[in-house]
């Protein structure tokens, strides 16, 4: 069961565990909105070490405002970056005002 749905405000966990991670550093700790649920996939953090990657993890495409990600962003205010994030890296967040 997926915990989040399209339109939900989420924040990426600010964590630095060791191992093979698909959550880029630049997006950790940032808040965005779920653009869509992409399905459930084997966890790459487990697959990387020869394990089965189960249970499957919901994967989301999360949209972030560039000005949220880079406070000194020089482009237009409506610019965004979409990043795929597995559910265990996300927590609920308050809607951005």
């Amino acid at each position: 069961m997926a915990r989040f749905a399209a339109g939900d405000a989420v924040a990426v966990r600010r964590a630095h565990p060791p191992g093979h991670l698909r959550t880029p550093y630049y997006i950790r700790g940032k808040a965005g909105v779920v653009e869509r649920l992409l399905g459930e996939f084997a966890n790459p953090e487990e697959l990387a070490f020869g394990r089965d990657g189960l249970p499957l993890r919901p994967l989301y495409r999360v949209r972030f405002a560039q000005r949220e990600v880079w406070p000194d962003y020089a482009g237009a205010g409506a610019d965004t970056v979409d990043v795929e994030i597995y559910e265990h890296w996300l927590e609920p967040a308050r809607k951005a005002g």
Binding site: P24, F41, Q66, A76, V81, I85
Partner: protein, 203 residues
């Protein structure tokens, strides 16, 4: 997936790099154990080398001229491409549509993930730390270096291929192409326009 070459490139000191040695060791072991054959390996390399942006251009031209196909492509890129006979392998495709109001560009900040089944091998610059680190942070400056100048009221959306999906841009259909057939349209669709660093050519 790695970029295979028949003669593996040399590492910085003329010898094989760590990962090249590892790759050769693993492929030799797989062949020795009979899990894979040299012919099968060479066949896969040849098939990968044969893929080119022409496949992606065919998909774009069809989407431009067939509204029902375009709707299917945006809804489920993998299924839509398979429905016209394209082998998608394990690729799960998301197609993002650019328009006069929104411009999309793709990157893989972690490595070099790329919609290879539709575009072939990625260009060398796509894999550089320069492109990967800058396009996500200052996309407009990077686009300008590719000759793509966008007004401030066009929203720029960067798509980072960090996990299981691969992204392709459906570029905006250029003006003055209303009477063109699919074959002529496909010729306007460049690789860079499907990555999003460029626009489709105007006739």
């Amino acid at each position: 997936m790695t970029d295979h070459n028949h003669a593996p490139p040399r590492g910085p000191n003329g010898g094989l790099s760590h990962y090249q040695t590892m790759e050769l060791a693993v492929s030799e072991l797989l062949i020795e154990k009979g899990l894979f054959s040299e012919q099968k390996l060479q066949g896969e390399i040849a098939a990968m080398d044969a893929r080119s942006p022409e496949t992606g251009a065919r998909v774009v031209a069809l989407a431009w001229s067939d509204a029902a196909f375009k709707a299917r492509l945006l809804d489920d890129g993998t299924a839509a491409c398979e429905s016209i006979g394209i082998d998608m392998g394990p690729t799960r495709l998301v197609v993002v549509e650019s328009s006069a109001a929104i411009h999309n560009v793709i990157v893989c900040t972690l490595c070099s993930c790329y919609p290879r089944m539709l575009l072939g091998l990625p260009p060398d610059w796509y894999k550089t730390a320069n492109y990967r680190s800058r396009v996500v942070r200052e996309p407009r400056a990077v686009l300008r270096e590719f000759g793509t100048e966008l007004p401030d009221d066009v929203v720029v959306r960067v798509h980072d291929n960090t996990a299981d999906m691969r992204y392709m841009v459906l570029p905006a259909r250029p003006k003055g192409t209303e009477s063109m057939d699919r074959e002529a349209l496909a010729k306007l669709v460049t690789r860079d326009s499907m990555i999003g660093v460029g626009l489709a050519m105007t006739p």
